[in-house]
């Protein structure tokens, strides 16, 4: 059986905010790979650099040192427009606070991203409906975020992340605003869909209860990668 493709590769990545005496090192010499169909869990306490790692992996932030490759493309040197197109086509985000657009219904939130991302032959409206139905929200298509429960909002966010058919999905503390049962349900759903669609899924969390869903757990402390299990 062939080795799955490397989707995300970080080589010697460091990130320093500020300069001189006020410089703060958020990441130091971090190297990490995530392959298609793999779930990598980045764990660590608050302020350990998890979110910085995720934003660098998601082409939102440039590293101070090191190289980031997404689907084989070195994104470290790309300009803002190219980075935006990388995010549009290759990366799906699931955020801690869901980050749905409040004026748009569940369907519109997903459709907006589906119509903007890479076309996969299905019409955005149909694809958005399919994804929401697949995530058990077929009956909530026209609901505004304010009328959805937190668990439902996170499922809409997952549908939105999948709508672009990304190679890499990045989830930042996806269970932080959910109770234990909903949190477990959402992470399980994320894992299931990532595997079904052969995505690489990187989750940043300090929630130990979700370790079971990961193929690999990476520990981050004070910006350094400590151990892998």
């Amino acid at each position: 059986m062939a080795t799955p493709e490397v989707i995300l590769s970080l080589e010697g990545v460091s990130k320093v905010f500020g300069s001189g005496e006020r410089a703060v090192t958020a990441l130091e010499d971090v190297s990490l790979e995530a392959r298609a169909g793999e779930v990598v869990l980045v764990m660590g306490p608050s302020g350990s650099g998890k979110t910085t790692l995720l934003t660098i992996a998601g082409a939102l932030l440039r590293p101070t040192l090191g190289t980031v490759r997404l689907c084989g493309t070195n994104i470290t040197e790309l300009d803002e427009t190219r980075l935006a197109s990388i995010r549009r086509d290759k990366v799906g985000f699931v955020y801690q606070s869901f980050n749905l657009l409040e004026a748009l219904t569940a369907l519109e939130n997903v459709r907006l991203v589906a119509s903007h991302g890479t076309r996969n032959g299905t019409m955005p409206q149909e694809r958005a409906k399919e994804l929401l139905a697949m995530l058990g929200l077929g009956h909530r298509l026209n609901s505004l975020p304010k009328h959805l429960s937190d668990g439902e909002k996170q499922r809409v966010a997952i549908a939105r992340a999948l709508a672009k058919t990304p190679a890499l999905m990045l989830a930042d503390e996806p269970t932080a605003n959910l109770d234990a049962e909903r949190g477990h349900e959402v992470v399980e759903l994320l894992r299931q869909k990532a595997l079904e669609m052969n995505k690489s899924l990187v989750i940043a969390s300090h929630d130990h209860r979700i370790r079971a869903v990961a193929d690999r757990v990476v520990w981050l402390e004070d910006g350094r990668l400590r151990t892998e299990s």
Binding site: T51, L54, T55, G58, L60, L61, T81, A84, S85, I86, R87, R88, D89, V91, F93, Y95, Q96, S97, N99, L101, E102, A103, L104, E108, R111, L112, V113, H116, G117, R160, K164, D172, E173, A176, N177
Partner: protein, 375 residues
């Protein structure tokens, strides 16, 4: 239109109403002011332009019909009549004066521009009779229909000035200068009523030429050979009369137009800006999802454009609907709504939309998508 623009705009109904209302108010003010300008511009030169004279002759220094500080001897008319190009010479006595309707409080006087003309020639007399008779006889006057409407002057009424009085026998149209209207009497009545001395003094002479195409050439020739007199074509005299009145109004009007534009721009700009600031996080989400700054600019511009278009439609509608009612209530409120002006206002509204959308552009560019990762 983009989904995000439409949804952002219509999900905040109160903000939209305020924004559209602000633009509509601005458009309404601009529309009314421009219509008022056009209406006045048309009215104040109307009589002079429509009098079928090829040349207006005045004494040197007289510039227009309103500033009728012109005095010419009657003999000048006789000389002008000898010119081979001249078909008709009509003398006019024009004086601004205040009159009172007999029986009214003397404080309730009103301004008229008395025009004494020769009914036998007719040139310079009433343009059209609406009611009653014309020409007026001795001691009689034909007033403008606007004088009748504004001051309740009717046929049979007596208009008083000191010990003198005139009887209203007819109403004419086309002699409204907004702040005053022409009233026609015979030359003899004007001389008696005004107590002119010497009796032979005239204000203007109107010339009708045998060949109107020679008007300008004749004016130039007379200008050179007749010092002490000034010669104007009908159109030129009408323009100078308009300029005299409108030239004083225009600077005020321009200031008011600028203020109206700034009001619309401020309301639209502030509401678009605050909406953008409030939605900063959502714009950050869009950036994180791979939407470019250009897309976000378009979202903001579309919101600004739709706000402005709705404001324009509402403001224009209000202008077209309110103007006639205002005119009925306040006769001096003479408005003329021109489609060319509405087109110009639509252009100003578009500029308003562009500037209002431009204000938050820097703010949009500065939004860091990384911030959306903060809970």
């Amino acid at each position: 239109m983009l989904l995000v623009s439409r949804k952002n705009l219509f999900s905040e109904r109160i903000r939209l109403a305020i924004s559209v209302g602000g633009v509509a108010l601005s458009v309404f003010l601009i529309g009314i002011l421009l219509s008022l300008y056009r209406g006045w511009d048309e009215k104040v030169g109307d009589y002079v332009e429509r009098v079928p004279a090829d040349l207006w002759v005045a004494s040197e220094g007289a510039t227009d019909f309103i500033n009728a500080a012109s005095a010419l001897p009657e003999s000048a008319g006789t000389l002008l009549g000898l010119l081979p190009e001249v078909e008709t010479v009509s003398p006019l006595i024009v004086r601004p004066l205040a009159l009172t309707k007999e029986g009214d409080d003397p404080d309730n006087d009103f301004e008229i521009q008395m025009v004494g003309y020769d009914p036998a020639i007719g040139l310079g007399g009433p343009l059209a009779i609406v009611e009653g008779k014309s020409p007026p006889g001795p001691g009689e006057v034909v007033v403008d229909i606007q004088t009748s409407k504004r001051y309740g002057v009717d046929i049979g009424d007596r208009l008083v000035r000191g010990a003198e009085s005139l009887t209203v026998v007819g109403k004419s149209s086309g002699g409204d200068f907004v702040f005053a209207q022409v009233a026609f009497v015979t030359l003899e009545t004007a001389t008696d009523f005004l107590g002119l001395n010497p009796e032979t003094r005239r204000t203007f002479f109107l010339l009708a030429l045998k060949d109107p195409s020679e008007t300008e050439a004749l004016a130039a020739r007379l200008e050179a050979s007749a010092p002490g007199a000034a010669f104007f074509t009908g159109e030129e005299f009408a323009d100078k009369t308009r300029d005299r009145i409108m030239g004083n109004i225009l600077p005020i009007l321009v200031v008011l137009l600028i203020v109206a534009f700034i009001v619309g721009l401020a309301v639209a700009g502030l509401t678009i800006y605050t909406a953008t600031v409030e939605k900063s996080r959502e714009y950050g989400i869009l950036k994180a999802e791979g939407f470019t700054n250009r897309f976000l600019y378009r979202v903001v511009f579309e919101q600004s454009l739709v706000t402005s278009v709705l404001g324009f439609l509402l403001g224009t509608g209000a202008t077209v609907l309110v103007a006639p009612f205002a005119q009925d209530l306040v006769p001096q409120f003479v408005v003329f709504v021109r489609w060319q002006d509405l087109l110009g206002i639509s252009g100003a509204t578009l500029v308003m939309a562009l500037i209002a959308a431009f204000i938050p552009i820097r703010r949009l560019a500065e939004i860091d998508p990384v911030t959306v990762f903060k809970g």
